[in-house]
Symmetry: D2
Subunit: 289 residues, 4 copies
Amino acid sequence: MKDFKSLLADYKVIFFDSYGVIRNYNGLIPGIRQTFEWLQAEGKSYYVITNDASRSPELLVESLHRSGLDLIQPDQIISSGMLAKEFLDNKVKTGVVAYLGTENSAHYIEHPGLEIIPIQQVNEKNMDSITALVLLDDEGFEWLDGLNKAVNLLRWRTIPAIVANPDGAYPISKQKVGIAIGGISWMIEKITGKKFIRFGKPDSQIFMFAWDQLRSRHPDISKKDILMVGDTLHTDILGGNKFGLDTALVLTGNILQEDVDTRIASSGIVPTYICHSAVIDNQLNIYNK
Amino acid sequence: MKDFKSLLADYKVIFFDSYGVIRNYNGLIPGIRQTFEWLQAEGKSYYVITNDASRSPELLVESLHRSGLDLIQPDQIISSGMLAKEFLDNKVKTGVVAYLGTENSAHYIEHPGLEIIPIQQVNEKNMDSITALVLLDDEGFEWLDGLNKAVNLLRWRTIPAIVANPDGAYPISKQKVGIAIGGISWMIEKITGKKFIRFGKPDSQIFMFAWDQLRSRHPDISKKDILMVGDTLHTDILGGNKFGLDTALVLTGNILQEDVDTRIASSGIVPTYICHSAVIDNQLNIYNK
Amino acid sequence: MKDFKSLLADYKVIFFDSYGVIRNYNGLIPGIRQTFEWLQAEGKSYYVITNDASRSPELLVESLHRSGLDLIQPDQIISSGMLAKEFLDNKVKTGVVAYLGTENSAHYIEHPGLEIIPIQQVNEKNMDSITALVLLDDEGFEWLDGLNKAVNLLRWRTIPAIVANPDGAYPISKQKVGIAIGGISWMIEKITGKKFIRFGKPDSQIFMFAWDQLRSRHPDISKKDILMVGDTLHTDILGGNKFGLDTALVLTGNILQEDVDTRIASSGIVPTYICHSAVIDNQLNIYNK
Amino acid sequence: MKDFKSLLADYKVIFFDSYGVIRNYNGLIPGIRQTFEWLQAEGKSYYVITNDASRSPELLVESLHRSGLDLIQPDQIISSGMLAKEFLDNKVKTGVVAYLGTENSAHYIEHPGLEIIPIQQVNEKNMDSITALVLLDDEGFEWLDGLNKAVNLLRWRTIPAIVANPDGAYPISKQKVGIAIGGISWMIEKITGKKFIRFGKPDSQIFMFAWDQLRSRHPDISKKDILMVGDTLHTDILGGNKFGLDTALVLTGNILQEDVDTRIASSGIVPTYICHSAVIDNQLNIYNK
């Protein structure tokens, strides 16, 4: 048994999930600021790895700063939206890209040479010029019209369909969730039979993106030097484990203390550690070490 | 090679799918009236077995009559909505039943002792009194609000969730489909982890319902006397085959002539016959007989 | 709170699952004989509804008699193997039927006009004459050879593939399970893309088969007069509920007392009652009545 | 329309799938040697990216050399087995690792500090010391016994389960396939509910592994300089596309010329190019460029 600070001390770099670890629907997790102050004082590197494609890193950081956490900068944010952008850069060089999401989310996919249109502007005239469909966010469009247009676009055009957030739902209060764009993508994929490309945890590519940025600054870093901290077994922990990182599950988000053993045993997804929270003076239960 | 009339002559009872067999987005299939006139003249029984829970048998028949087909009566319609009704009659005797669909679809689930409310009326005050959720139709509610409410209701209450139409999509024009309530149910089921109860073809229970009605009128009938005519492999043909009926696939709906062999071979779902249409003077290709 | 006897008293007919309710790997559930003695004394009807296609009703009954339960006769057994037989009778009238299973299981599918061969006898010479593949039991063939032959048969021939037991695994001791033929069918279905026809709970057709037999003896019976007793949520309880029956979950098989609430809440499959066992003097917790 | 040589000329690095591209069940694809001679003469880099965990890179190369292709060396092979090894290196440092596969495949997972045992040696005495299960190859063990032991091990122990080849089946002759270890993993995952970790195309991690090796030798290389050549849409093409590479589908393996358009349209997986084969003088159809 040791505290979360002693655990962090064993690693050079910490990857944090955002929602459920740093903040939740009530704002910042109480005390989390201390953790980042300590990391800065110790000269440790940290990144936020998030399945959030609703806003740019700048806007995500602005929101954290407004909440009182000014210790994270845009270049420390790795979001699944950035992977969608990289995909379009490499693979979709021309034409019109249709998207589901808000205008804020659409900034991810702006690119010289591409025209970007919201799903509601897809029509019989422009359909043949569309070269990709990107699902960014569950807001910013009328569902009945937008989802039906997405289905018909994929039936008509053989084009890449990209989902920038694989999550099925996200918490909006202690009791409620909202359907996320990842959940919507399951339905469209099953109806159309078309294979979507999904970016975001647990997929390795977002970890690789962070890992590449990290190595460009710290060439001698090893995967053994990194700890992934998250609140969700199927994204943060499964993805971190698969990428070869040690993982710490915190209980300030998706999983309650009383359910944690059952959830691990029934899924077979095993974090290296289980901790009450990512606050540094918190009690730590060492698990399976 | 014989015509569709000679095929019908071999059976005492014909089950017809509606959409894609009797009518489509353009109205009645040209010539289909002859088929029903001939069946009546020959004294053969026929039923329409449909995955349509959007309207009562009376309203479904009214619409056929308006199209010019007055040879089908409400007691010849077996719809998946009737199965949902039977389920509630047997299993949900009290409380409030929430539904997704139009007011027309809600007639299916009206029952003495049950209060019926549309999904948008579910709120924190009445949530604890809800005893079932029924997905009837994809229209009649605002999707973003209604689908999120359905997800949260199933997270909060351990109650039966019933889908009265298992189809994922339905054709609305030659080129376009609309997402059907069955497709929506896949998403909600995957997000919540709750097991839905699905009624409608290919499930056996709708065939059994028709079979029971048929036997009450014709006690000596055998499954070998029945032909199921449909345009969809995964519902009409799979369901008919499994129930033990001979099946005829017609090409006036979901499947094009040029794709039929591939679709059968890749799915492994084999109709007893393949026919151009259900119009009686049509050419018939005998398949696998 | 009342005992299991008072519960049975409310119904005219009881459907029992076999494994986990009447017996388990240790033999008969202690005291279960009293239940059947009481049912006989009271003149109530009872049936065993089992996803077991490994042996004929006669052999299943013989085994119960050897265990000391001589109060069940072959005509009270409804097994998923009988559904496979009915399917072949109605739909596969000629040719060669290949099967996976023991010789005992093959008795189900013997039929005048059909040649029956075990999977290991399928070869390049007879492959073109094979008209159906039936998965009956996980024993009686060499897995590597048999499963590969089944996959290649379905790739080569467009024929019905029938699974007479949908269960993925079955208990062989307190700690161990064995992979059942239903589990094997999931793998073959996913590899080949061919749609299997599955018989057995939770599918309605096995309940309808029992219901038809019951009505032929008791024409005035109603679904409200029947109680389904089982130990498995996804087969006995889901299937019974969907068919419109009241259901009682017993805790002598698949589900432990401490897990029962979680299992019901996470699956959304709700039995009408939960009971310690199907032994008549046992304590009964009334659930959701 | 240009030939395959002109296509290769546009890239600095070529990634080849092995089976269906370089060789098949008949040995080397006729003429493929010329391609590698030309690549060597031009000073281009090439790698083989294979979902084969049955043998070490040394043994895979030895087999290519015996077939007459001595232009590929072990350090040009990236196999999914190497990813399984890296995972164990990073995440499973102690205890006993059980595996399914031949002794040849087991070389991948040998590691100081780990004891490696074949699945048949798992028993009640050593079960509690097992720290991972690795599925390497479909041969080298008795299926009935081995698969049941794998299921029971995962029910008893909450440990990582790794699959080093995600393919469901592999061709063994023009007409026949064999069930691959990836197909077996689907069944075990569904029966146990435990989440497997899968390595191999289309997963990004194998591409990243190759990309990291490539950059250590050629630091200035960009993803735009690489062409992935493969015969399978769901692995080679989907994985290459997602990683951001241009992709060429060849028709010497899984897909026939007459099916290629249907397969692309129905899956939505779009290669940058379609070519008859990877032989350099072959005709090339430019697709969607």
